[in-house]
């Protein structure tokens, strides 16, 4: 996509410069003497493991955190940022990793929040605000309905709102923290186009991601953080995915999943004409049928918002089914409660790890028995066995390499990657017939992804039927034995992996008819 093979932007004037930024959190030196330079019209990519300090650095540049040491220069001026407001007036706009949008408010309300244009008495003319949002979205090609309520929007559109928010404030330095983590390939591509369009208009962009491919295609320059330190600046032209991964993690990373041919056995999961409603009682799963056999990975690929979430929730008993049938082995589980399904040896890695996957105030050990606490040896006649729970915790933490100070640590204080490992450890450490994994590596660094992918493949090889749901085409293509493409609430096509080319799956995901 990028045709800039040389660091042309280096000649452009410097719009932002950080010198010796240091930030200490209790027990962690999140940023350690970090220097950073951003040129006008440049796309600067930041890479680093989970917990390397990327978000911290960006939060400092956007005024949310105050650094312990270091200087920030914006457009030649030495500045002290006390609040995001200070950064905003200097043209720094940030799109946070966790979107900072008020879910119950409309797009326009979110855009103008904090920068409202008011009439007498503080009255907000919301029509005028809607008009300005429409104007902006036209100007930058960021199509959006200003009157839509945020919580009704897919994440891709929510992100758009974040960008419009920054543009509305006339930001010319845009910081995007893992913008593509929640986007589909199509959405990502649209975002990159937008980014190029913006840089063409003089905007400078810092862009954080864990996806090395993206870095190589869109960045003008790449800065790598490790353990809070800036460990190198490289250019796409002189880098490969492997070299970047090594720079990040500090060791060689095998990016390609290494797996043998599948040996599928008997059918474990069979779904016929499934129909499910969403929160607003709209039918979003419309006659979905598929089956998964033991010893194979069936990947459901699809643009987010085509009913995948509701489908998985229905499959695991979290959401009522309004039509069709689900069979797990010979048992019909269409209307079963989650406990029943889980007891049929169905493991579930949920999409939303904060909401479903973990009880944040619980210790790591307690979280590791979340759906098995009622079994021997974790409890006996309804009385918990603390020792067994602790031992299980110690074992799994070691086996799955969960980076935690102790098994008594609250899950909430783990980094994202480690949270995910806790869930994976829990789900894979019990007898499993069917593994349902929904977006298992979202937001996770390459090192951890490697680990989780290997685990999933190992399960398959042990004869487990794996249903992988992912919006990540790379993940789908490298893990799947068969690819089922989901569009508009049903499976439009199931392809053996040999026939699933990137282009073909991409087209199917976008809803184009074959044959």
């Amino acid at each position: 996509m990028s045709d800039r093979l040389s660091p042309i932007a280096d000649d452009a004037p410097i719009v932002l410069e950080a010198k010796g930024i240091t930030k200490q959190f209790p027990g962690v030196l999140a940023n350690d003497q970090v220097d950073l330079v951003l040129h006008r019209g440049e796309i600067l990519a930041m890479l680093g493991e989970n917990g390397a300090g990327k978000s911290t650095l960006m939060s400092i540049l956007s005024g949310l955190y105050t650094p312990d040491a270091g200087e920030i220069w914006i457009k030649g001026e030495h500045v002290t940022l006390h609040s995001p407001g200070d950064a905003i007036i200097r043209g720094v706009g940030m799109v946070y990793q966790h979107f900072q949008l008020v879910p119950v408010m409309t797009v326009a309300e979110n855009v103008i929040l904090g920068a409202e244009v008011v009439k007498a008495g503080g009255y907000i003319d919301i029509r005028e605000a809607n008009r300005r949002v429409r104007e902006l979205s036209k100007q930058y090609g960021l199509e959006i309905d200003p009157t839509a309520v945020i919580e009704d929007l897919p994440v891709g559109l929510q992100q758009r709102v974040e960008i419009i928010k920054a543009l509305y404030r006339q930001a010319d330095i845009l910081i995007l923290d893992e913008p593509t983590a929640v986007l589909t390939p199509q959405e990502s591509n649209e975002l990159f186009q937008i980014m190029h369009q913006l840089t063409a208009q003089g905007v400078s962009i810092i862009f954080i991601t864990h996806k090395l491919k993206e870095v190589l295609t869109v960045a003008d320059r790449i800065v790598v953080l490790r353990g809070g330190k800036a460990v190198g600046t490289v250019y796409p032209a002189e880098s490969t995915e492997a070299s970047l991964a090594e720079l990040m993690v500090g060791r060689k990373v095998i990016l390609q999943v290494d797996k043998k041919r599948a040996q599928p056995g008997k059918t474990v999961l069979k779904i016929e004409n499934l129909e499910v409603l969403d929160e607003r009682k709209h039918k979003v799963v419309k006659g979905l049928s598929l089956d998964v056999r033991e010893g194979e990975i069936l990947a459901v690929a699809g643009v987010q918002g085509n009913g995948q979430r509701e489908f998985v929730e229905a499959l695991t008993g979290l959401r009522p089914v309004v039509g069709g049938h689900i069979f797990i082995e010979d048992e019909e589980t269409t209307h079963s409660i989650p406990r029943k399904i889980s007891e049929l040896d169905v493991a579930h890695i949920p999409e939303d790890r904060e909401k479903h996957g973990l009880v944040m105030p619980y210790s790591v050990a307690d979280n590791l028995v979340l759906n098995r606490y009622f079994h021997e040896p974790f409890s006996h006649r309804a009385v918990l066995n603390r020792d067994a729970i602790a031992e299980n915790g110690r074992n799994l933490v070691k086996e799955f390499d969960v980076r935690t100070p102790s098994i008594e640590t609250h899950a909430g204080s783990l980094s994202g990657g480690n949270k995910q490992k806790v869930i994976v450890a829990r789900e894979l450490s019990r007898p499993v017939k069917l593994l349902v994994a929904n977006q298992p590596t979202r937001g996770i660094d390459v090192g951890s992804i490697e680990f989780i992918h290997n685990q999933i493949v190992a399960q398959r090889d042990a004869g487990v039927a794996v249903l992988l749901v992912s919006a990540e085409l790379d993940e789908v293509l490298s893990l799947a034995d068969r690819v089922a493409v989901m569009f508009d609430g049903h499976i439009v096509k199931t392809l053996p992996i040999e026939e699933a080319t990137r282009e073909r799956v991409g087209l199917l995901m976008a809803g184009s008819e074959e044959e």
Binding site: K23, F25, A30, T56, S59, S62, L64, Y65, T66, S83, P84, G85, D86, I88, M94, Y96, Q100, L101, V102, P103, V104, M105, E109, N110, I112, L113, G114, A115, E116, V118, G121, G122, Y123, I124, E143, I144, D145, T147, A148, V149, D152, L153, P154, G156, L157, K165, R169, Q186, E187, E190, R280, H282, V303, G305, A510
Partner: protein, 340 residues
């Protein structure tokens, strides 16, 4: 790719979504009209009583509402009301001016609001505890320092609002009242307007729903919470002042008698909106008035049965028609500006 979300057409869907409320509303209006036709005097008396009894409740509910909209749970309404009532009374005794006393009652509420803000925003104390501290403190302080035998020159008296007061039924009920009752009605509408149509309201709601989102666009979360909680305290103080300066004219230990907690229930009942709270408070005041009226009519039931009516009715309405309501998402959680 689908670009447009399904927009929410609030205007048209509103009636369908709230069909039960609408139905109840229609039934109530119809019944009132019928009752007025049958016995105008009693109907007027009952509705006037309804408004009177709803006044401290709605003010208390608005206090809770403005606090919670900015993300701070206030279960100390009862205590704030009590302090407002007490200090307004004392001011009335020693200064002999109702308006000054009113100001002091509001000020007392403001101070109690400030205390809650200090506890929940600055100290990041659990907000339920903060409110409980206020409740106990108010009972203790007012009980300890109340001197009996104090008398005042009197209380606010009703005045008619010109020709408006001549309208049958509505006139005597709404336009012939003492000042705090008028103030309460005005405040309901002002607060509704402010909350949903102004910059202040937008920011307040943002702070209550998603404080870090507000913070990242340069809104000072702490300041917003401090101000809103203090204003909430003022409203509670006003509710207390209503009791001593308008409702009764004198103070009595513990005279709020749980109205602060009822206000909390009314706030939830009204789904955290001023108009909703007003409706809920009105419903409540109405059941109180009806309960008295039933006794007036010599209905031969133990007063305990009639006395349970408002509460059972509330539960029924809530369970049957109103259902789930969604509180501001961030309420109850102290906002920690991480790493700040």
């Amino acid at each position: 790719m689908e670009l447009t979300a399904v927009p929410r057409k609030i205007s048209t869907n509103w009636f369908i979504k709230n069909r039960w409320l609408v139905l109840i509303f229609i039934i109530i209006i119809g019944s009132i009209a019928y009752a007025y036709a049958v016995n105008g005097r009693v109907t007027t008396a009952v509705l006037a009583s309804t408004l009177r009894q709803s006044t401290p409740l709605v003010l208390g509910a608005l206090c809770g509402l403005i606090c919670e909209r900015s993300g701070v749970i206030n279960i100390g309404i009862e205590g704030q009301m009590l302090m407002g009532a007490f200090l307004a009374f004392m001011a009335n005794v020693y200064l002999g001016n109702l308006w000054v006393a009113l100001a002091i009652g509001i000020l007392a509420g403001a101070l109690m609001g400030l205390l809650l803000a200090f506890m929940s925003v600055t100290l990041k104390m659990d907000q339920i505890i903060g409110g409980t501290v206020i409740n106990i403190l108010a009972i203790g302080l007012t009980g300890y320092f109340y001197i009996s035998g104090l008398t005042t020159q009197g209380k606010f008296q009703p005045f008619a609002l010109g020709p408006l007061a001549e309208i049958p039924l509505i006139g005597p009920v709404f336009f012939k009242n003492p000042p705090i009752t008028y103030m309460a009605i005005v405040i309901v509408f002002v607060l509704h307007y402010v909350l949903f149509y102004t910059r202040w309201g937008l920011r307040t709601r943002a702070v209550g729903e998603h404080p870090s989102a507000a913070d990242t666009v340069g809104i000072n979360v702490y300041k917003m919470r401090y101000i809103n909680v203090t204003i909430g305290g003022m409203l509670a103080g006003l509710a207390g002042a209503f009791l001593t300066l308008e409702g009764v004219g004198t103070f009595e230990r513990g005279m709020t008698n749980g109205r602060g907690f009822l206000a909390l229930a009314i706030m939830i009942f009204g789904k955290w909106t001023p108009l909703g709270a007003w409706g809920a408070a009105f419903l409540f005041g109405f059941t109180y008035a009806i309960q008295t009226q039933l006794q007036f009519m010599g209905v031969n039931l133990p007063p305990q049965f009639i006395g349970s009516l408002p509460y059972i009715l509330t539960i029924l309405v809530l369970a049957g028609f109103v259902g789930r309501s969604r509180p501001p998402a961030a309420e109850g959680k102290p906002y920690e500006k991480e790493g700040g």
